[in-house]
Symmetry: C2
């Protein structure tokens, strides 16, 4: 069907190597350049990247594996990663792990068979086993957003513990004492556990007791956020504020208070994570921890391309980025009397 370098050879009478050189930007006589260019136009020639990849052993393609392509968080990350990669003329193979470790492992093997030059992964698994094939094949990997238990790969993320800590501090500054948390559990996800620890740090520093029924740990999902919020609201002695530890849980919690007709911040104060238009959509505007998603995506690409460029091994690095807080009006100031009464 499509023209090959051989057709150009026929048309121009030049050798394959001259044409190849022209295609790769090396020096060719102006006259020959013109002839090749003319033939390319005439034949609608396009390089066959497959053939090129076979010989160069570089496909100029990066695989990106995300835990779920349906999550707006990942969509945003993918957008920034894609932009950064396109600038460097890299293609992007996106794989959806559907929040399933088996699919995730399959995705890695798939990408390896496709001979990608490197892989960026926002992982489902907590352990690194699924990445062993990549390591064996010497294909560089950069983790994004979530680190793994062993820490053997480069990772770009935020300081989750600190971010949660600071969020709780803001709640404390509004005199909240009965503060609950909904997060993904350590088995399910890295960030959930870290954020939980940040919550504990702040509570302990404030000398507050950790109430068992105020701790909701489970899946990273809208459903879990929704159900947990409902449970918290139905407690005999409900919390006055809740920290929602990721985007999906934040969504679920908002759905829940809508369903139950609970008012925010009059009845409950909320602090969410990952501001993806959510704070603009719902009334009142939510306080949220915001991650520098663009910087994170770009940094991951930068590190990966650096590895691809120079095959020398370097010890794994963790890039930890700063978060910020988007203020809203989802937090009520607890008056001291009430605070005292509640705190008792």
């Amino acid at each position: 069907m499509s023209a090959t370098i051989r057709d150009i050879k026929e048309k121009t009478g030049l050798s394959l190597s001259t044409i190849s050189k022209y295609l790769n930007g090396r020096n060719v006589l102006p006259e020959n350049q013109a002839r090749i260019e003319a033939a390319i136009q005439e034949l609608h020639y396009e390089v066959n990247e497959i053939a090129r990849g076979l010989v160069t052993n570089r496909t100029r393609t990066v695989g990106v594996v995300v835990y779920s392509v349906e999550s707006l968080f990942n969509g945003t990350l993918l957008h920034h990663i894609g932009n950064a990669l396109r600038e460097e003329r890299y293609g992007i193979f996106i794989c959806d792990s559907c929040n399933d470790e088996k699919i995730e492992a399959e995705n890695i093997r798939f990408l390896l068979k496709k001979k990608v030059d490197g892989i960026i992964v926002v992982p489902v698994s907590r352990k690194q086993d699924f990445l062993n094939p990549a390591r064996d094949a010497d294909v560089p990997v950069v983790l994004l957003d979530r680190s793994l238990s062993e820490g053997a790969f480069d990772c770009v993320r935020i300081d989750n513990r600190k971010a949660a800590f600071e969020a709780v501090k803001i709640l404390l500054n509004h005199n909240h004492r009965k503060i609950a948390i909904i997060c993904s559990d350590s088995e399910h996800e890295y960030t959930g556990y870290e954020r939980y620890k940040g919550y504990l740090d702040a509570m302990e520093q404030a000398g507050l007791e950790i109430v068992g029924s105020y701790q909701k740990q489970g899946c990273h999902s809208i459903e879990f956020g929704q159900a947990s919020m409902k449970e918290l609201l139905c407690l005999k002695d409900p919390p006055t504020a809740v920290l929602l530890c990721n985007y999906e849980i934040s969504l679920g919690a908002v759905i829940s208070i809508n369903e139950l007709g609970i008012r925010c911040p009059e009845d409950i104060s909320l602090f969410g994570f990952d501001d993806l238009i959510l704070s603009h959509l719902v009334k009142p505007q939510l306080y949220m921890v915001v991650q520098p998603m663009r910087d994170m995506g770009e940094k991951a690409v930068e590190i990966l391309l650096h590895h691809i460029g120079s095959k020398e091994k370097t010890p794994p690095v963790e890039i930890v980025m700063n978060t910020s807080v988007r203020t809203g009006n989802s937090i009520a100031k607890v008056t001291s009397e009430v605070s005292a009464a509640n705190g008792g």
Copy 2:
């Protein structure tokens, strides 16, 4: 680095072709099967899909080009497409057009160079020029969600005109007469124009005059939805109901009424498009046109794979799927007196 079929040849003493046959599921003596399998395990051999693709001229890879990977609408579509493709052991090359026609055209050329077997595209452009290279290279293309002006490619979509028509009918049944529309314009997008026509159909059938200031046509974006909604609300004689013709515009409209402190449905009734958790998130629940996104994605894959399987050309087909309406409480019943007064 990684093992090749040659290493297996050394280990087993068998010929390349026998090994290749085994890898492709053809008949090989049980004894030889066992030897090959053992060598594969030992060497961690994985097929080099690049090399295979070079000779078979099939990469078992499909390109998917979406207008924006940041849009939840596309994320959902991608999820279903990815699932369907994975089941058929196809890989998926996702390209983000960033709502830019130039990038979109670039994406097509990129995929062609990567020798994808077929392309699914949710297009930015209204005209098909950017797909000419694919047609020239005999790579099958299926359009999804949005059709092009010429209709020369297969397309899976809904009946946009009818969907909008029915939405307006529901508003009319609630006695609304002053009905506005916010949609993407025909220059920007296929669906916008179709939905606009459906709106006109319903208004004309009801014998209502089309008020110029109630027609907002522009970009498919949150910003446009937000700004347009604000303009409508600030009119001297504002509409009592608004049809929001896509997800981003629906988001923008909700943001706008939140900002202005307008109540829905007391002050204004809303009817949106594409229910992607939005109706659950905001209060009150929005009435929405919902598209069968999963069916659409799966159908697009089915058609594409069929084309890939049999290279014979068939005239382009348009698959038009049915929509449904998710009811909410975002529409107020206009009392007849008011209706008469307003309708005047």
